[in-house]
Symmetry: C2
Subunit: 417 residues, 2 copies
């Protein structure tokens, strides 16, 4: 059987499993999640041995150190994966929750309830923990899932997914509800992107190139996630200590993630006083500073920023800095360069806080807080499958609720129209 | 300027307009909707004159009579369009409505509110009333809209859209918020499908071919609408009079629409008694009956149904009929052939009613009522932009709420992570 047919067959099996999984009790799903967690911990040696082969290949292929770091699994990381699954088991099950109900003038009763999406495709890169996280969230929300991880982590992902699928099946989850595409052939992705008869949605997780490929080529509906060119705007009335703390946190607490700041915008009235402060604090954290012309007047040690800098998600200890005339120029800059993820203003001016939150078009718009909070755990969802940067279906952190669709149930007594 | 650049420019203008329109008050939007309604009525002669040219061309091009009927405008139909706009003005504005708010343990206050999607592309066929309906709903929900109607209605659509755009602009709506693509060049659609930098969603409205083209080729997110292979299952315990009434209503009250029934499934235990009844009632309404082998034992005058019949949306006075062994065979048949639109069971058996609603995967699942109720007006939304048959973002009738996205507003006092 050729690759395309293998993938269609997997998808068809997943669709059949999804039809059953939609009606499996929360009790069985939670029991399966706990069994999956146990399986990972019990077989951690095997997972680490398989992972070592991926790491070895990665070294041979000159993978970047940061990439190898993310790829690497040890006892602690496997325990974290298992704990993530146990945590998901404690979350409320969204399936069947009522959204509203009403009685129409003709006596028809209409109920709207949450139902699983069906079959979810996840296409992702290096981090093998996504395999366990995504499997757990999809299962809990009653969805079948087809995972397609990157070739660098193929052996780790195969080890993890086969353990998870076996444990889930033994706990009563329909066979085929959790599947992994175990080939590194890139055509597998192309085939997945056109499985409209079987997949209800594809969620890409990874770098900009991966996401662009999926968005541009998929005929299956896509939820776009994860690119974040996030800004912090320090207004004239900002408390300087608060502003420095927020900026340093937003840039340096975890520079590789999508809710980290990439550009700092500073009101011209405070630039002379504030920029040297924030520049010194960033330098202490080894941040490379790239400033506009006006910023470099106050901080000549900054590298000169180019047009490209404003549109770049560095994912690294690099920060671009721009002095703006006022809040309107700040909002215009953000409107031009942001990716619809997270934006924050540091201010003590009520009108500006209000204006910034109204006018900036992004999933999460903050006043006086770090953009780093845009995250399913921090928002109180208990888990997260990704952060949507599109407006359709879900926006911002996606938890279990965002992995559901709706269904209308209508109760009549012979009504016709 | 070539067509692609013309369309990009239109889209860029729409995006700028959308950024302003998102903050226009409900008062101004409602005032604009009323002005748009007045403009249509005042200039009805001009619209009818332009429409007459489309009709003339249609006759020359041998358009089907039913097609010409849908295309034709008169004073009554223009008044209906205007009334639709006035009705939309009375609906509650979804923009800014709170979805929830919470305070996190760290003191961060999180609010989730409804915001417009941004720019909506609508690609549609013959019926020129879609131009006014879609423009009104998009405007009320704070969205800019780019309309692309079929070539058969090009003059009617141009007349309507230019009147609407002018009236809206004069009432304070940003210029470019309502645009029509006035070319019949099919490439215009291809260009629209890849305007990811400007369009937030594309909604196709029309036949299966149009929808397939949009779904398969668009890189902009799509909401799939409108194809309906809907079933009525008459269970063994059904009240025969109710079942005949529901079946006749679902098939004949408006056979061309997507919530009309295409296939009748009948429990074998009642087939001998029920089929002749429903067959006679349908014949009286000039319905062509196509039955499975078992159905034809009881009604030999039925044409023999082929495999193709089960998957066909006739949109006409044709009905396929199948005898099934039990509710499970009925559900299996529906699972195989339905399009996720509307399904109904006629029964007096509690367990079967419950099972049918749980197991059938469709936007709307009825007990003892006609599938014809799946409609924004009948569901109490006051209006409808289409009926989604996909699971992402919206499912079933889409009103103003379904034309919005979400945004998180987060209020801090210096929180860092």
């Amino acid at each position: 059987m050729d690759l395309q047919n293998i993938i269609i067959e997997k998808a068809a099996t997943a669709k059949k499993a999804a039809a059953k999984l939609a009606f499996i009790s929360t009790e069985i799903k939670d029991h399966a999640l706990l069994a999956m967690a146990d399986a990972l911990e019990k077989r951690s040696e095997m997972i680490i041995a398989e992972n070592a082969k991926d790491i070895e290949d990665g070294r041979k292929n000159d993978l970047k150190r940061s990439y190898l770091d993310r790829l690497m699994l040890n006892e602690d990381r496997i325990r974290e994966m298992a704990e993530g699954l146990r945590q998901t088991a404690t979350l409320p099950d969204p399936v069947g929750q009522g959204v509203y109900s009403t009685i129409r003038p003709n006596g028809l009763e209409i109920r709207k309830i949450k139902v699983p999406l069906g079959v979810i495709g996840i296409i992702y890169e290096a981090r093998p923990n996504v395999t366990a996280d995504a499997a757990g969230l999809c299962l809990k929300s009653g969805n079948a899932v087809i995972l397609r991880g990157g070739s660098e982590a193929i052996r780790s992902n195969l080890a993890i997914s086969s353990l998870l699928a076996k444990a889930a099946y033994e706990a009563g989850i329909p066979e085929g509800a959790l599947q992994f595409i175990g080939t590194t052939d890139r055509k597998a992705v192309d085939y997945m992107l056109h499985l409209n008869d079987y997949l209800d949605v594809i969620i890409p997780r990874g770098g900009a190139g991966l996401i662009r490929n999926v968005v541009e080529n998929s005929s299956v509906p896509v939820i776009q996630t994860g690119t974040g060119v996030c800004h912090t705007f320090v207004d004239a009335s900002a408390d300087f200590t608060m502003a420095v703390n927020i900026a340093v946190n937003a840039k340096t607490s975890r520079p590789a993630v999508c809710n980290a700041m990439e550009t700092l915008l500073v009101h011209q009235d405070i630039a002379a006083d504030f920029l040297p402060l924030v520049n010194a604090a960033m330098k202490e954290k080894q941040v490379e500073m790239r400033g506009c012309k006006r910023a470099r007047i106050y901080c000549p040690d900054m590298i000169e920023a180019t047009e490209d800098d404003w549109a770049t998600e560095y994912g690294d200890l690099i920060l671009s800095v721009k002095v703006v005339a006022d809040i309107d120029e700040a909002i215009d800059h953000i409107t031009k360069y942001n990716t619809g993820h997270s934006e924050t203003i540091v201010t003590n001016d009520y009108n500006n806080a209000h204006k910034f939150q109204r006018r900036v078009d992004a999933a999460a718009v903050y006043v006086n807080a770090s953009t780093r909070f845009t995250d399913g755990f921090e928002f109180g969802f208990g888990a997260e499958i990704g952060i949507s940067t599109q407006k359709l279906h879900a926006r911002g952190p996606m938890g279990l609720d965002e992995l559901t669709s709706m269904k209308y149930l209508i109760y009549g007594e012979g009504q016709i129209r």
